[in-house]
């Protein structure tokens, strides 16, 4: 009896443990269609947010097209909920059920796949095909490249980070969108007096906090500061601009600029956009997809009350107010193990089509295709479309989001340190010294 019970408890301990680790892995790997099955169908794994309807339409269009009949392939989309996407993609790519085509952020986000020889090098495909070669803005094609080779086809809109504001609240309190940091602080004080949270912030998702540091470091020290960090030089975090940016953020937090509960608010589950749309907060620093998110969830707010401006200049800082941070766009990449490479590439070509660009425009996105400029007037909000297009076109520097740009091994510790800074678990000085210690 004694040994029986002991073994049993051992089993309980071990089984629960392993199911935590094992089931996560098993669960993530299932669901994608077999790339090695030899049948013509190809699976495309995509980030499942509001904008995914554009890829749904593209897949339908492709499946009915002559190209699909010629290559004998049909596309099946696999939509993955936002916050799980990177982990699910990684597990799937390491399994026999890998997708044929997958959504990514270019740069650091596909480095590991490239090193494992899992990507189709699209450089020659693009060069030899005028539809692809002339179809996209060259700078955007380059942003998805690694060591000068291209692995991705742009498939979503431009995603610069923009300071959104509630026009109605601004009018009521006779405020103008800020162009300098001092003006921003002034607006902050006035809004707080009126009992309105100045800025919505979905602090439960650290990447929303990251945007504040990205812009502040750029405005204070210029794009060169992060350029050095991105290339793997951890001592770059010691640049005075990083400390200054962290101190500036700290002042805003202590001042209550994000409200009290910001670290419990999530962006991914719609909390922060709702706070902003319902007038509880007056401004929201967010990627340009905020417009399509609001158009989907609070159309009335998006159409009547949503305003936008560039992130303000910082007095005494060396960064240009026209500099932009964010994601140039997202990309489709092709798995080297795909069973139907021709169909995969034919499907990617649809992204350069006018129909695809129009779908993006209808969704409030700005395509990165060469034909985008002439389509802007057809946008549901041509004013926002032109603002965004010109913002990116005229930007002296476009800094890729830090979490996508740095080596993947830095990503998680970097985000943890940023979160600790925002919730007050570490001081700006501790923040800098922790980041300098990244290996």
């Amino acid at each position: 009896m004694e040994s029986y019970s002991r073994r049993w408890f051992l089993g309980v301990g071990a089984t629960t443990l392993i199911s935590a680790a094992g089931l996560t892995a098993c669960g993530s790997g299932s669901g994608s269609g077999g790339s090695g099955s030899g049948s013509g169908t190809i699976t495309a794994m995509v980030y499942g947010d509001d904008a995914v309807k554009i890829q749904v339409k593209a897949a339908e269009r492709f499946n009915a097209s002559a190209a699909a009949r010629r290559t004998g392939g049909k596309v099946k989309l696999e939509k993955v909920p936002a916050s799980d996407y990177p982990a699910k993609l990684r597990t799937a790519m390491g399994s026999p059920n890998a997708p044929d085509v997958f959504f990514n952020w270019g740069g650091g986000s596909i480095k590991a796949y490239k090193e494992a020889n899992q990507l189709v090098d699209l450089t020659d495909v693009i060069e030899s095909d005028p539809v692809l070669k002339d179809g996209f803005l060259p700078s955007v094609l380059d942003s998805g490249a690694l060591d000068g080779r291209r692995y991705g086809i742009p498939m979503r809109g431009m995603q610069p980070v923009i300071l959104f504001y509630n026009k109605t609240i601004f009018d009521e309190h006779k405020l103008q969108p800020p162009t300098t940091w001092d003006q921003l602080l002034d607006i902050n004080a006035k809004l707080k007096k009126a009992n309105i949270t100045p800025f919505a912030l979905g602090g439960a998702d650290t990447w929303t906090e990251l945007m504040w540091l990205e812009y502040l470091v750029d405005r204070i020290g210029g794009p060169e500061v992060f350029e050095r960090i991105k290339n793997g030089d951890a001592s770059g975090w010691g640049d005075p601009a990083v400390l200054k940016a962290a101190e500036t953020v700290k002042q805003l937090i202590d001042d209550g600029a994000f409200g009290k509960g910001f670290s419990s608010v999530s962006y991914n589950n719609g909390g922060a956009p709702a706070v902003f749309a319902r007038g509880k907060a007056a401004m929201h620093l967010m990627g340009s997809w905020e417009y399509s998110t609001q158009l989907g969830k609070f159309p009335d707010f998006a159409k009547k009350h949503l305003g936008w401006c560039a992130f303000p200049r910082y007095e005494g800082g060396s960064g240009d107010i026209r500099n932009v941070v964010g994601n140039p766009t997202n990309y489709w990449s092709v798995n080297a193990r795909t069973s139907n490479r021709d169909a995969a590439i034919a499907f990617l070509k649809d992204c350069a089509s006018e129909e695809y660009a129009k779908d993006l425009i209808d969704n409030g996105d700005i395509p990165t295709t060469s034909n985008a400029a002439k389509l802007l007037d057809a946008s549901p909000n041509p004013e926002f479309a032109r603002f965004q297009y010109e913002m990116v076109q005229q930007a002296p520097a476009f800094t890729l989001s830090w979490d996508q740009a740095v080596d993947p091994s830095w990503q998680s510790p970097m985000l943890t340190e940023i979160n600790k800074l925002f919730v007050g678990k570490s001081s700006p000085a501790q923040f800098v010294s922790a980041l300098k210690g990244l290996k």
Binding site: M1, A14, A20, A21, G259, S264, T416
Partner: protein, 309 residues
Amino acid sequence: MSSTVTPVTKEGPVTKDGPRRNGSGTGVRAGRPHTAWILPGVLFFAFFAVVPMVLAFCLSFTQWNGLGDPVPVGLANWRKLIDDPRLTQSLTVTVLLTVVSWAFQTVVSLLLGVWAAGRQRNRAILSAIFFVPFLLSSTAIALLFYALLDPNFGLIQGDTLGTTSGAFLAIVFVGGWQFIPFHTLLYQGGARQIPDVLYQAAAIDGAGRYRQFFSITLPQLRNTATMSSVLMIVGSLTYFETVLILTQGGPGTDTAILPYLMYEAGFRSYDFGYASAVATFLVVAATALSLLLVRLTGFGAMRSTREGM
């Protein structure tokens, strides 16, 4: 379980178990069943527990990002584990969570269980309602509480999950809400087994309700309490979904318990070698702890609570 029944039948009160045993047993050939009977259990355990455990142990000596083949790196992951300041913090949080959860769940489920063992009006209906949370999945429960705790639109507004104590207590509470029904059931069953004669004798001796509870009910529930506690403690060590959904280990790293640390190393940083080292450590720690508990409480000997009756 027939082996446990055999010795007990010699005692008086259990004779009513006789017919049931004959129904389930194989008639004349009472005693141990054939060894082949353990095969399904052993195979299941080997495939879903032993094999992954061994694989994780092997993986802890490699570097692997989930793609391609793991590269052997010797003891590098284990050295990193010992030097990792987050491990110390994680251990502290894990132990704290285990102790506080145990205290909270034991007190509440003991009281509820003893109450539910009685014959009051409405008892059956209320007990059924109390049991509902246990039927929901942990993920559903965590998502539900995440919505309830939303600082702007939730039922309990305020920065609950943004403060260290708030986040910690939220995890303890949500875990309790889910598992208390199960432990209540254990205590209810245990309390039902206490012979009425003990209470009748105590009543004659003039013992009040509180005296009866502390002098009869509690000592009689000794074995139930041990089993429930071991399940709670081992369960708390492997607690995961609630932390992932409610706090993501935050604020900062203040609720990053060991299983979350393992998840983060594996599925955020794609450092599966290091994650396996954390997992192996967790297996060893949890096994050691449950063996220790069994030894300390004398549960292995399983002394009857009815000795001398």
